[in-house]
């Protein structure tokens, strides 16, 4: 019965897809030089240039400044009154791995098994997801596609959001392995796992963590020996972690969990990034001292405890910034990513400030994902990942993207939802 139902659902979904964005094509490579002028440039590194000029050629930024000279006889957009930003980066998402949350057949984000370091998110990334274009239209141009499931879930890759297929989209492949730490907290849910087990829950969590450490110890030993009679794919896939070509993203939230996360840096010398870090504000100084970066949970969250400040999640980013922690702002889910910039806006309102909030979804995200040499800010030599908005991009009241460029290619801002909008405007005769 279920199968039949799902099959029917799929026929419906398929029908809908026909209506949608099939005629929205990925943009071709940048061929002509483009300049944008008379705009307020928000570089992503904290600098704002009023009435600025930015030029890019063959996908790279070639000029940024207040009075950068504009070569003659090329394409120039006069953006009087508009704002220019680096493309926003979603640092932690299952975009393209899941299409409909409640439909299992569309979920390719969660693999079974406890230790899956060789699993790669990039190969499941669906460039034809109808969600992708709904993010671009709000200014998101890059995303880190993250696998889930088990303890060590596999590697994420950064994609740019305008590709024919995942090879096209791959921006930085296998930038990090993802660990999901078990919760080190006795829960109070009377129905949930571990309810009433007291310390056993903690102990079994610690046992799992110890198994992960043992795995890395054995991987390290394995990698020290050049020849093997039996190849271990799991160990092999940690090689770039030990060489620091990849980072270890540890998903955890509470103080004890984060302290454990720092042990992976101490013992193995990994580049550790905490993902989540809801309570990171409590140990911001420790994280700063140990150079642990944080992809912090979305500010649009409820406080963890009834006694927490009502605006605690809103002000956590500012507290991390004040302590000198390298952090960027994350957002749950996939379709929800289109509100990432508004989460940054809330953090801006609660002490972070607008340009720092922008940095927390652009340059800092690029640094944490290992792509800051090529993107994250509007600087000469970096990829021309650029967004133009008529107003403040961080505020939904003013966020209105008119143009966007990925590697210099001007991408379409159309999407399935706009097309449905047009369809029913047509029905009702609305102009």
């Amino acid at each position: 019965m279920k199968k039949i139902f799902l099959a029917i659902s799929f026929l419906l979904a398929g029908y809908n897809m026909v209506l949608a964005q099939e005629t929205v094509y990925p943009a071709p490579a940048q061929t002509s030089v483009i300049f944008l002028k008379n705009a307020t440039l928000h570089l992503g590194n904290g600098t704002v240039i009023e009435n600025g000029v930015i030029g890019f050629s063959q996908g790279k930024i070639i000029a940024v400044g207040a009075n950068a000279p504009i070569p003659a006889a090329i394409k120039v957009y006069d953006l009087q009154g508009q704002h220019v930003y680096p493309g926003i980066i979603a640092p932690n998402t299952n975009l393209g791995l899941v299409e409909v949350e409640a439909v299992r057949a569309t979920d390719d984000a969660t693999e079974v098994g406890e230790l899956n370091p060789s699993v790669r998110a990039i190969v499941s990334y669906n460039t034809d997801s109808k969600v992708i274009n709904t993010l671009r239209v709000n200014g998101i141009l890059l995303a880190n596609i993250v696998p889930e499931g088990g303890l060590l879930s596999g590697s994420s890759s950064v994609v740019q959001l305008d590709g024919w297929n995942w090879e096209d989209a791959a921006y930085k492949t296998d930038n990090g392995l993802h660990v999901y730490l078990p919760r080190l907290l006795v829960r109070s849910n009377p129905f949930g796992p571990g309810a009433g087990l007291g310390n056993d829950v903690i102990k079994s969590s610690l046992d799992r963590i110890e198994k992960l450490k043992v795995f890395f110890r054995e991987a390290k030993a394995y990698l020290a020996e050049p020849k093997h009679t039996a190849t271990n794919l799991k160990f092999e896939s940690t090689r770039r972690l030990f060489s620091k070509d990849e980072k270890l993203f540890i998903h955890c939230e509470l103080v004890k969990e984060m302290l454990i996360a720092t042990q992976f840096a101490d013992e193995f010398g990994f580049d550790v990034v905490i993902v989540g870090g809801t309570d990171a504000w409590q140990i911001a100084d420790i994280l700063h001292q140990k150079n642990i970066a944080v992809i912090v949970n979305q500010p649009h969250s409820l406080p963890l405890s009834q006694d927490d400040d009502v605006d605690q999640p809103y002000k956590t980013p500012a507290q991390l910034q004040k302590a000198g922690v390298l952090f960027c702002i994350g957002n749950e889910g996939f379709w929800q990513q289109r509100n990432l910039m508004f989460n940054a806006g809330t953090a801006a309102a609660y002490g972070l400030g607008k340009e720092e909030a922008l940095r927390a979804i652009t340059l800092n995200a690029a640094k944490i994902l290992g792509i800051d040499k090529v993107t994250g800010s509007l600087e000469v030599g970096k990829d021309a990942n650029i967004v133009v908005s008529t107003g403040d991009i961080l505020d939904m009241r003013t966020n209105n993207i008119t143009q966007a460029f990925i590697q210099g290619r001007e991408i379409s801002l159309d999407n399935k939802q706009k097309q449905l909008y047009e369809r029913y405007k047509y029905k009702y005769g609305i102009k």
Binding site: S188, F334, T346, M396, L420, Y421
Partner: protein
């Protein structure tokens, strides 16, 4: 001592006339604990195997301090009992010739305690672990001519199930109890309770009253039936059963025999006891009682002290537990991170409950129920006395009050002639810390609780030891407490020895010299006149010894004083860290020079003053002045009407869905408002002032909703928005056809959108026929609500997604002649906005949700704008405790998606939801005469940078950002104070409990069972499915 292991029968050992002095000096009764089911006069109908042994068990207790009742204490009095009953209780009363005399000089006699909340001797089926993967169970699985609902067990009589449990009886007697009211603690209606004594005798003799009470709760116990699956369902079931039982009196042919309803009716004349177990549940139960003319006795849960005026207003008597929580183990600050101040404060204040009830004049008794260990009962009562309960009231609560509630005062409760000989013999005033309970007599049978110390043997003795080494004399001193005297051998350099007396056997051991390594060991009998026996000297040679009493011992006076706990924290309203110590008051407030967004036709008024007076918006204009008004400078700020959330699930207790049946219009959110949900405060901080609390979307016809104002600190009734048009929640689509509930949930009708239509047609057809039915019909709460819809007295807000089902519902409504007031979620409303307009429906929707399930694949963020452009009244609502704090931002998304004007966007969270809820004449805009529900914002209210600085409801400032900062400093300070206090408690050796996270349940539409906390703290929620 266990039953059957007693060493000897006391009556056989003790002479009829006068008890011999078993131990010199005078009258030391060496009596073992006795459980011997035959001492009481045998029942006439039972044959005797052997020689008959009839007893009259006449005893006289002389020279006692007799506490006949809490107000009457007789010094040097005599209590005479015979055949299990009291004969006389007075000073100088004559001692009958056939009485065994027990000298109680120095001792106190009290009535034994009565516990009204016990399951003694009545075992019930263990609660079946609910198998959430199993299919649904629609009707009771109880075999027989009983009720449709398995949790209605009115037919159960505890007396029929009762089997004396001597072990458990002994434990209860040790705690001081002589009589209990026991009942089968299973089900929502639990049938009748029975009064039994705790004598270790045949059931026939101890059963005092077979049908003494009727019992109810909100806990369905072992019932495996799906309904009710929520607290509001329990309440509806009780209400419907009251109605059904009334109707059943007419012996309706359609019902046949229903033994449960018959018993229910028979039980109504008994005292009605409701286990509420929580302050709010007390009020919920009381409301049911008020509706059906029943005054319940409430079994409390221990937090009722937090709402004393409300408790007093129930006019009920309470059964208070004394299971005061142990301190939390807060040594690890990270583990204690999620232990909320509310739980910590409850730890500190729980022992004040009985004393607080006494001060408030609320009648109560005390129970040992809920205690993990009954042995701690008396210690906890004493703790309650330390925290303000008077000893007189404590005794009252344990004796006379419960006896009178059960109308058994002629039998128990005080020591009056004719009553049962149920009494305690103690070493002193009952509630003094060091007082020992020696004996608990039940129905004239002695049960020894403690022998040691009955006779004070402390004093000096001359010990003579004869052995191969000749005769040695020692002077012994027994000092310390009477229960466990300590031995000192008096000589130049006194030696501490060990001394032990058990029953009548004495053990003495001591070294001959101080720090000597060898010990003299003696064993013997504490006989009348002297102690003597045998032993071994330090060389192992046998010796004989005698010991004779020389002088008494004068103990040093007990210097321990009543422990008065210092610095108790204050009660907060609500009882959370963010609660108020004193509830905020309505003020006259003049907001000066603000940019006022009115949500009226003239949408923005720059530099304008607004005067709030008497809870209303009194005046709007320039340069207003008002004497005595609090002036707030609004320069540079924005003033708007409070946000109205048309779709909310906050502030709801124990379940937002009664999803067990497809039609549950009988359940009411009004019954389960939780005024202490922290999300109320959080949403005030986001500018919300009114919320429409909806039933979930698990079934087609859900429950009745409730409109509330966010009056932080009020109780449930006070939160209600008065005089509003009642609404009900309907739902369509994937949730009601259980699409995402797993493979086992494939039985409940409907499983398709075709079936959903049929559920609706069937329900309204039944309602229509019911409405036409003549007098004498069975009143049906489910159909009553639907009839209200048919008569346009109740309005529908319907969860809906796809255009086909929206269309279908409007056709159904048209067929039955009513209008769908509001479609919520309505993410495909844009596809049929023209039809909705023609039907007359409005819309409450989300700004930009989609992709979480199949039916939202075509959801678009332009939906709200398209519907507005087609002329619908459109609201943006939350369905989410987090998003509800930012509804201003969600409204702003309509500016982004579809180019709404700011004025119209703002209306989507103020006047438009007010219109949808039929309250636009009272709230939703800034207009003279409307309720003073306003918000002062730091910035353009639609901006991401805007903060609600003050949120005012009825002219009362419930949220103030400056005050919030102070409140959080107070939380930190108060938490630290309690942490230090708990650490000290742990250091003292007081028991502790694990500091588990405090639960803060919140709900979405589809949550079927308990809600969930912040996801990070929750385990996997049960049967939860998307939005």
């Amino acid at each position: 001592m266990k039953n059957g292991l007693s060493l000897f029968n006391p009556a056989g050992r003790i002479s009829r006339r006068r008890m011999p002095a078993l131990l010199w000096p005078g009258g030391f009764c060496v009596l073992a604990g006795l459980l011997w089911p035959s001492v009481m006069q045998a029942q006439q109908t039972f044959p005797v195997n052997g020689v008959a042994d009839p007893r009259i068990n006449c005893y006289a207790f002389t020279h006692a301090t007799l506490v006949k009742d809490p107000q009457t204490t007789l010094a040097n009095a005599t209590l005479v009992i015979r055949e299990g009953r009291i004969v006389t209780a007075a000073p100088g009363a004559a001692v009958p010739l056939d009485a065994v005399v027990i000298d109680c000089k120095g001792k106190y006699i009290y009535p034994s305690f009565i516990d009204l909340y016990s399951d003694y001797g009545v075992t019930v089926a263990p609660r079946a672990g609910r198998n959430y993967g199993a299919g649904p169970q629609f009707i009771s699985s109880t075999k027989g001519a009983y009720n449709w609902n398995q949790a209605i067990r009115a037919e159960v009589n505890a007396s029929a199930l009762f089997a004396a449990d001597f072990g458990k009886a002994a434990t209860l007697r040790e705690a001081g109890f002589g009589t209990v009211l026991t009942h089968a603690q299973d089900g929502i209606a639990r049938g009748s309770g029975a009064v039994v004594t705790l004598a270790a005798e045949r059931e026939n003799k101890v059963l005092l009253k077979a049908r003494a009470s009727a019992h109810y709760t909100f806990n369905k116990g072992s019932s495996t039936q799906d309904y009710p699956g929520s607290l509001m369902g329990c309440i509806a079931l009780l209400r419907q059963t009251y109605l059904d039982a009334q109707w059943y009196k007419s012996q309706p042919a359609r019902e046949g025999q229903n033994l449960s309803l018959q018993a229910w009716n028979e039980n109504q004349s008994l005292p009605q006891i409701f286990e509420a177990a929580d302050k709010w549940n007390v009020l919920r139960a009381d409301k049911i009682g008020d509706e059906f003319g029943v005054q319940y006795i409430f079994k409390a849960g221990g937090n009722e002290y937090q709402r004393l005026p409300e408790m007093a207003a129930t006019k009920g008597t309470f059964i208070l537990p004394v299971n005061f929580p142990a301190a939390y183990d807060v040594e690890d600050p990270n583990d204690a991170r999620f232990l909320a101040l509310s739980d910590m404060k409850h730890w500190e204040l729980a022992p004040t409950e009985p004393g607080a009830f006494e001060k408030a004049g609320i009648p109560f008794c005390l129970t040992a129920a809920d205690l993990k260990d009954v042995k701690s009962f008396l210690a906890n009562v004493r703790k309650a006395i330390d925290y303000g309960l008077t000893p007189e009231k404590a005794l009252e609560a344990l004796t006379r009050v419960p006896a009178s509630l059960l109308k058994i005062s002629d039998q128990v409760g005080t020591l009056e002639p004719g009553k049962l000989a149920n009494f305690l013999v103690t070493s002193g005033p009952l509630f003094n810390e060091n007082t020992v309970l020696y004996q608990n007599w039940v129905q004239g049978i002695r049960y020894v609780l403690k022998n040691e110390g009955w006779q004070d043997i402390r004093g000096t003795y001359t010990l003579s030891v004869n052995g191969p080494q000749g005769n040695s004399q020692y002077t012994l001193l027994l000092k310390g407490s009477a229960n466990t005297p300590a031995l000192v051998v008096l000589q130049q350099d006194s030696i501490a020895g060990t001394f032990n007396i058990e029953d009548q056997f004495v053990k003495i051991a001591f070294p001959l010299t101080k720090n000597g390594s060898r010990t003299l060991r003696l064993s013997g009998l504490a006989g009348a006149g002297s102690w003597n026996g045998t032993g071994l000297d330090t060389s192992g040679n046998p010796v004989k010894w005698t010991s004779t009493y020389a002088n008494g011992y004068t103990p040093t006076a007990d210097s321990s004083k009543k422990k008065v706990p210092a610095d108790l924290g204050k009660i907060y309203y609500p009882f959370l860290g963010d609660g108020f110590e004193t509830k905020p008051k309505q003020q006259d407030i003049l907001i000066k020079n603000a940019t006022v967004w009115t949500s009226e036709s003239e949408s923005v008024l720059p530099n304008t003053d607004v005067l709030l007076r008497g809870g209303k918006i009194a005046q709007i204009g320039k340069n207003l002045a008002a004497a005595n008004a609090r002036v707030i400078d609004g320069t540079g700020k924005y003033l708007t009407a409070g946000i109205i959330d048309e779709h909310s699930h906050i502030a709801i207790s124990s379940g937002v869905n009664e999803g067990s049946q497809s039609v549950t219009s009988e359940v009411r959110i009004a019954d389960v408002i939780n005024p202490e949900d922290i999300n109320i405060y959080r949403q005030l901080s986001g500018g919300v002032t009114t919320s429409h609390l909806l039933h979930g979307s698990a079934n087609t016809i859900g429950g009745q909703s409730q409109l509330v104002k966010l009056r932080w600190g009020a109780n449930a009734e006070e939160m209600k928005f008065t005089n509003w048009d009642p609404f009900i929640k309907f739902a369509l689509g994937e949730n009601v056809k259980q699409s995402n509930w797993g493979d086992r949930q494939r039985e409940r009708f409907p499983q398709t959108r075709m079936g959903v239509e049929q559920v609706l047609y069937d329900a309204f057809t039944r309602a229509h026929d019911y409405d036409q039915e003549g007098p004498g019909k069975r009143r049906d709460l489910e159909l009553d609500a639907l009839v209200e819809i048919l008569h346009h007295k109740r309005f529908i807000t319907c969860h809906s997604y796809v255009q086909s089902e929206i269309n279908m519902l409007m056709h159904t409504a048209d067929h039955f002649g009513f209008t769908i007031n509001t479609f919520t979620h309505i993410l495909e409303g844009y596809k049929v906005a023209d039809k909705m307009k023609a039907h007359g429906a409005g819309a409450g929707t989300f700004a930009d949700w989609w992709a979480y399930k199949m039916e939202v694949l075509d959801a678009i963020p332009y939906n709200a704008m398209l519907m507005q452009q087609e002329g619908l009244t459109v609201a943006i609502n939350s369905d989410d405790a987090e998003m509800a704090r930012r509804l201003n931002q969600e409204a702003a998304k309509t500016v982004k998606y579809g180019g709404n004007t700011e004025a119209d966007a703002w209306k989507m969270v103020t006047i438009n939801p007010a219109k949808l809820l039929h309250i636009a004449d009272r709230v939703g805009s800034i207009k003279t005469g409307k309720d003073a529900d306003v918000v002062l914002w730091s910035d353009n209210p639609l901006s991401i940078y805007a903060k609600a600085e003050k949120t005012i409801v009825d002219g009362i400032v419930y949220f103030d950002r400056d005050l919030d900062t102070q409140m959080h400093q107070r939380i930190t300070a108060e938490k630290n104070r309690l942490v230090q206090k708990m650490l000290a408690e742990k250091k003292k050796g007081g028991g502790t409990q694990k500091a588990v996270p405090t639960r803060d349940d919140h709900y979405h539409c589809e949550d079927l069972q308990g809600g969930h906390q912040n996801d990070l703290l929750d385990g996997d929620a049960v049967a939860e499915a998307g939005q």
